[in-house]
Symmetry: D2
Subunit: 327 residues, 4 copies
Amino acid sequence: MGKIKRIGVLTSGGDAPGMNAAIRAVVRSAIFYGCEAYGIYGGYQGLINGDIKRLRSQDVSNIIQRGGTILKSARSTEFRTEEGRAKAAAKLAEHKIDALVVIGGDGSFSGARLLIQEHDIPVVGIPGTIDNDLYGTDSTIGYDTAVNTAVEAVDKIKDTASAHNRLFFVEVMGRDAGFIALRVAIATGAEAVLVPEIDTDITDLEHFLEKDYDPKQSSGIVIVAEGDKAGGAYNVAQKVGEAHPEYDIRVSVLGHMQRGGSPSAFDRVLASQLGVAAVDALMDDQKSIMVGIMNKEIVHVPFNKTIKNSKGLNPELLNLVKILSNR
Amino acid sequence: MGKIKRIGVLTSGGDAPGMNAAIRAVVRSAIFYGCEAYGIYGGYQGLINGDIKRLRSQDVSNIIQRGGTILKSARSTEFRTEEGRAKAAAKLAEHKIDALVVIGGDGSFSGARLLIQEHDIPVVGIPGTIDNDLYGTDSTIGYDTAVNTAVEAVDKIKDTASAHNRLFFVEVMGRDAGFIALRVAIATGAEAVLVPEIDTDITDLEHFLEKDYDPKQSSGIVIVAEGDKAGGAYNVAQKVGEAHPEYDIRVSVLGHMQRGGSPSAFDRVLASQLGVAAVDALMDDQKSIMVGIMNKEIVHVPFNKTIKNSKGLNPELLNLVKILSNR
Amino acid sequence: MGKIKRIGVLTSGGDAPGMNAAIRAVVRSAIFYGCEAYGIYGGYQGLINGDIKRLRSQDVSNIIQRGGTILKSARSTEFRTEEGRAKAAAKLAEHKIDALVVIGGDGSFSGARLLIQEHDIPVVGIPGTIDNDLYGTDSTIGYDTAVNTAVEAVDKIKDTASAHNRLFFVEVMGRDAGFIALRVAIATGAEAVLVPEIDTDITDLEHFLEKDYDPKQSSGIVIVAEGDKAGGAYNVAQKVGEAHPEYDIRVSVLGHMQRGGSPSAFDRVLASQLGVAAVDALMDDQKSIMVGIMNKEIVHVPFNKTIKNSKGLNPELLNLVKILSNR
Amino acid sequence: MGKIKRIGVLTSGGDAPGMNAAIRAVVRSAIFYGCEAYGIYGGYQGLINGDIKRLRSQDVSNIIQRGGTILKSARSTEFRTEEGRAKAAAKLAEHKIDALVVIGGDGSFSGARLLIQEHDIPVVGIPGTIDNDLYGTDSTIGYDTAVNTAVEAVDKIKDTASAHNRLFFVEVMGRDAGFIALRVAIATGAEAVLVPEIDTDITDLEHFLEKDYDPKQSSGIVIVAEGDKAGGAYNVAQKVGEAHPEYDIRVSVLGHMQRGGSPSAFDRVLASQLGVAAVDALMDDQKSIMVGIMNKEIVHVPFNKTIKNSKGLNPELLNLVKILSNR
């Protein structure tokens, strides 16, 4: 592998706040190292279509604070085929792009791996997803912001819950993982949290709420991850409501607002660090790795490892919800 | 009617940000005029139950910025009966409370009217509801905050809509009125707005979106009021999606978070003005009126008028959405 | 005057949140009426320099929520000369721009008036300044946002003031006018407010604080407008501190953050209305006027009137601060 | 040492967002372990004065989201004397309080150490200070919130800086440490950062700005820590302005707002963890330690160590500012 001169960058999969900060860091550190940077618009599909534009330093000015991604994101069924990836590789060759930085989740990294194997193009991944469910990094870009967004929404809901002594079931994002739900539950002082990783026992929940929520004098919040096995906030609320018709129950599904908004300071710093680290890694002849942060240190994790493994919830945090909701 | 010495204050109906600022203003202006102030906890039901406590000046310190209501709110079926209202009047007599300030919507004012008619107790109302659907005042307390909360949420949704070129149907509060929906639509640059006051023609909407939303290169937002006749955001989205399977559609229902949160500066000032105006009105021997604000002036509106009449949307604002969404 | 085909738009003077929303409304309504829109970059100086670019509908997509101004702003000493204005007029002619919309304050409108008089170019003004000190409109674009920004900052300061029983003097913007200071004082429950319109009597203030602030058990906030005659927050704090060495006094000058940030819903709607109204006015052969909003209606105010007259503070609001700070 | 039955908790030194979340966690976990919890109001001075009140579970409801500290904080010169500490110990004995949790910084821990040595009272410390300058913990309570508050303020300043191509010197808190300044600089994409830990070379800064800031077409931000050796934002701005009279320079000192506001999700979770960990440590017969978090694990750090040692800035983060500001 010769020296890298041109680095392409794309965002893939669900967008996350902080992706723009990562793009900026990739572009500016590429330039810092004497390379040219190229933005690929619309994820892998955009790569196949050749939707590629050179990015200079000023093109990424004033984007560090913006949600979304200036490079847009999209799903590509074509990239899942060998032909699609061959087209993608051809487009990279056409633009003389030597290496790629992919900002996304494990689906995006699986695609990257095939591109590397079939066309020997160095790719480094940056973990960008609000769900935080990527092995090999303590935090993913967007997670801290999404948690703060959900916490601010639940704070508002608590105002009205408290005014009416209501019990709210609030659904937060997390199809496969309860990271968002767990932090939101602790940070909002919720009565309980339901996560995909643990089978929900509705009877247990009911017993717990009987001790903790008194519709005559208090309000309550239960945080439910989207992917909870008991079926989401509406289903859980219905079951609890059937057992306790005297409860004044409401449901709120926070939805897509959790994906947007100006990134938190934490996510901006993390994205800046990982963006530089990704280019560093390419300069050091790395390929097929994700850069992550573990115990404050930059780490390199083989794509294979981050795709195959999964990260568990901290059991001590689960325990915290119980200790702190006692009344 | 002799001179008023003790003024009771309660919040009733759905809570709204700024109610605490209004409570503070009632309490402090009552004290300013040499009266005592009493907080009645839990709306009319709390009054029947005698859940009444004297409020001194420092009891309302540091609440101007809080959402919800420190006096809580609740529905009371008992107050809808003559017996219930007789009990309420007896509790007022027991605490030597001469007059009442009720912060709420037209349902609350209807109850107040019966109390006045049956027991000759002076009551002055303060318009507190996020929906803004009260005749006789340009703004109700909580409306400006709810609009800002919804706008901030839609701003976040726009980030992710734009990253994926998606079309979002966002449902905001407003069962009977489109005030929130209309302002949110203008303030977020939405493509279209659906309100209860106007019958929604889905075919029209589809034609409009065909010109305005291109799933290949742009995103779109349609704001739907909860009480829209076409059946809410999910129903409208489904119909549009059936006609246009190529659209990448998502739905978000903002829900109860719109009721909470720290009140905006506008709502705090309005609540402060109206709280003082309500006590002023009682000092001037008024009863059975709502205080409101019209063209920057405090006005007195008979309960009867505000209950029987309704306020319409500004047609020029409806037109603005169309002019400004053109692309 | 023939029919207008090309409309130029510029922002001038201090920037204000909502200017982008106004630019968007001017551009899109110009296009709606069959005209072309041109952005002039860098205020009057940019006009003299010919820094002009056509703006299409999509060029103003996704800017309604952004603070600052995409057209930038700058002072121009050259435009104050007849030669400068002649150059400006020549540039407009060169680009076949028939009419101008100027978003700014009264300094900007004075310049516009000379351009109209000397070169017969129709100009309509839009009031954009956080200070709200423009005659002929109830609100200027940016005022509501600036007040909310300052209120949120003072809320934070109150947290720490309260933790330490401190007395804070907080300086807000307003060199010539106390509009921001007055609303901020009411909305934050401040003990007192000092504004340029009223001579500050420090002895009075001290007497007032003696009753209201007890360093052993309470905190206090005094809001000081930048242009207060007693010399700003630092000077006032020093004088009060000399008389009361037992007070635990701190000063905070909120500064330029009050000019930025995403505009409030109110400012976005106002800017949208005024932007359309400005183009409407040009279509109706108006020139040399500012569009404003009075009692919810769009009004046309001759530049001459808005420049020569000034708007006073609402004395009832000044009185509110006193009534509500009583403890 | 017998079994602990009553735990006192106080906040000391400068307040920090998240202190209330820590108080709540101490109270609820104390109750969870079968103890009683006592709030000591006004720091060590309040302890000497016997300003002590039992706190039950519901007394700390709905405070997790509040800035400031419900227990207030104050300096105590009396506690620095042996007599003062003897009085404090006597008050603890009088209320049968067996152990103390102190939330504060190293000054507060020094005081605690003397109390332990002289009166053998177990004390566990929780790091609460926005400055993050405590050895033995990756983060202190309040730091993340303060950084976010400063970042949001600088985002607003950037809007107006950008509208006028201005160079802003923004001063953030940090008398002895640059932690806040450094993170804020990275997160806002600042041109440069000045911290107390590194001697500022104004000539270097000037050279750097000459490359990076062009008053004709760009804006710039320099973040200055309060304790920077070159003398704070005003002094630095003046020196740079003298060398470059063509620069359009402004200064903003963010001030005390950085201490307040609703804590971020991170700070709430951290405070909850450390609050429980502090009670856990007392249950495990610990004394004279601070609980902290290192690499996601709860750690116990002897007071002596945390007082004597100091924590350094991450040099890689300092380097990031340089790499990423290149234009």
